[in-house]
Amino acid sequence: MSEQAAAPPLAPRAARRWPSTLVTGGAITGAFILIALLSRIWTPESPTRIHMALRLKPPLAAGLLGTDPFGRDVLSMLMAGTWTSLTTALLSVLLGLLVGVALGSCAAALRGRFEEVAMRGADVIFAFPAIITAIMVTNIFGPGQATAVTAIGIFIIPVFARLARASALQIWARDFCLAAQGAGKGRLRITIEHVIPNIAGGLLVQATIQLALAILIEAGLSYLGLGLPPPTPSWGRMLNDAQTFLDTAPWLAVAPGVAIALAVLGFNLLGDGLRDLFDPRREGRR
């Protein structure tokens, strides 16, 4: 339209206000982190001690959320499971982020053959769902946290590789990078000193969202028995145990699922909130 000069400004907004998603997401994730840390020093009951006399008690009959088929307190298991989920998720995302960003930023810096091969490789990796990779890796190493972290981490690499490359390419096109190159600075130095700090914000947002995803995948893996082996409590395996006793103890199937959903929701909201914080124009657009 030819009315650019009189184009109306965006409707006035209260400036500097924290996005509601950020607050809600931050609160939820903060609560989970606290619970995870707390579970290392205290839980209402021992999450691993078997107590056959108290097996399959409904909520409030024994413990706030009842007991599982082995008499273990569900609430304590949930708390301990928080630690399992969060640490596995964190390690996986770290793995994916470090390898992915390295790959992506090198692809952006070097271009040409390397870029092609790297991005193709990322695409191929993405064809393997984390569960499939986990199955393959378990075949070698057996189940455990290392397996889970490796499998999930590998699956996350392509996301960060693509994001890092796309964002880095935008930075490389900017004047100060061209100037630095002209002054003779090596590509590695430019990448470390200029490119990475500028893409960090976007990486943080994506990392938060991938954390949510990692929690979800980890739950699936431990449901199938591919995660941490017993007696370490994990939400996914609690759901597997609950399945056998669905008729007699339906409450067992509810709590772990709610925990998973809530944790994932919290991290997703946090990610959305961070994104809105860094780019307020997009608020209301998600």
Binding site: R120, A127, V137, I140, L239, Q243, D247, L265
Partner: protein
């Protein structure tokens, strides 16, 4: 246009080959000696050697790989160690369950997402929009296998409408087979619908700001017609992109959901093969699952050309 299609096809084949190499390396080379794994390290050397010879793993690796690929092209995938039957038959049976399941889930999630996404965009920031966005957020957060459990709890245990699993095959009437697939498909579809709804809404909102929507309104079209007839077709491109990317998660979800509902599909087969150390089945099933994802992305590439005529012109 033909050049474009051939290019895509070439890309598809290269990716498949790369994936097959990865599968072969990770499953056949890395773990070490399958014979020792199967018989235990304390077995006698000549027994181990005999098994190695029977499995064909005493030959050069390249040869084994090429044999596998060659066999795959002719339909011979080897014999299952556990069941002793041809793997191709085993897989075909399982595929007849997993593929319809996946397709059903895609159809449900896409239909739901397109409808909800367009509604949310049309009534932006009003009650409907908020409700849809909330539903989407929830859908994304909830694990699909948990939804499966809850569905079983609700419909089987409590209401007794559906049986909680079991599969009679297509031979006994497609109706019964579909009934067995409905609950698992819904469990698979809901998280997908959550993701797709957000994408649809965002895409439609973007398109609604384009000039040609104004042209449509200036013609006299009302808001609703402009939305469904002009905005939505232009919003499909990002939706299709995400749909392709989501297929990876769909396959993962299928593995989980098949286990929840005890459905004898590919996912369950993969899991069982791992548990039984049946490497031949495992190798082929894993490859097939990866191939399905790659195929889905290839189909998405082709769909692009169908949906956006501008892409057909590019060499």
């Amino acid at each position: 246009m033909l050049r474009l299609l051939l290019g895509r096809l070439g890309s598809f084949i290269v990716t498949l080959l790369a994936a097959s190499i990865i599968v072969f390396v990770v499953l056949d080379i890395l773990p070490g000696d399958p014979a020792a794994i199967l018989l235990g390290t304390s077995a006698r050397p000549d027994t181990l050697a005999a098994l190695r010879h029977q499995l064909g793993i005493d030959r050069p690796l390249i040869l084994q790989y090429l044999e596998w690929i060659g066999g795959a092209l002719t339909g011979d995938l080897g014999t299952s160690i556990t069941y002793g039957v041809p793997v191709s038959g085993l897989i075909a049976d399982r595929l007849a369950l997993t593929l319809p399941l996946a397709v059903l889930a895609v159809v449900i999630s896409t239909a739901l997402a397109l409808f909800l996404g367009v509604m949310a965009a049309a009534f932006r920031d009003r009650g409907i929009d908020r409700a849809v966005r909330g539903f989407a957020q929830l859908g994304i957060a909830v694990p699909d296998f948990w939804i499966g459990l809850l569905l079983i709890l609700l419909f089987s245990t409590t209401l007794n409408w559906f049986s909680a699993g079991g599969w009679s095959g297509w031979g006994n009437g497609p109706g019964r087979a579909l009934t067995a697939l409905i609950l698992p498909a819904i469990a698979l579809a809901l998280p997908q619908a959550g993701v797709l709804t957000r994408v649809t809404r965002s895409a439609v909102l973007d398109v609604l700001e384009e000039d040609f929507i104004r042209t449509a309104r200036a013609k006299g079209l009302d808001r609703r017609t402009a939305l469904w007839r002009h905005a939505l077709p232009n919003a499909l491109l990002p939706v299709i992109t995400i749909l392709g990317l989501q297929f990876s998660f769909l396959v993962a979800g299928a593995v989980l959901v098949e286990n929840v509902f005890s459905l004898p599909g590919l996912g369950r087969l993969a899991y069982l093969a791992l548990a039984q150390r049946d490497l031949i089945v495992l190798r082929n099933v894993v490859m097939l699952l990866a191939a399905l994802v790659i195929l889905a992305n290839f189909i998405v590439d082709l769909l692009y050309l169908l949906v956006d005529p501008r892409l057909r012109a590019k060499a």
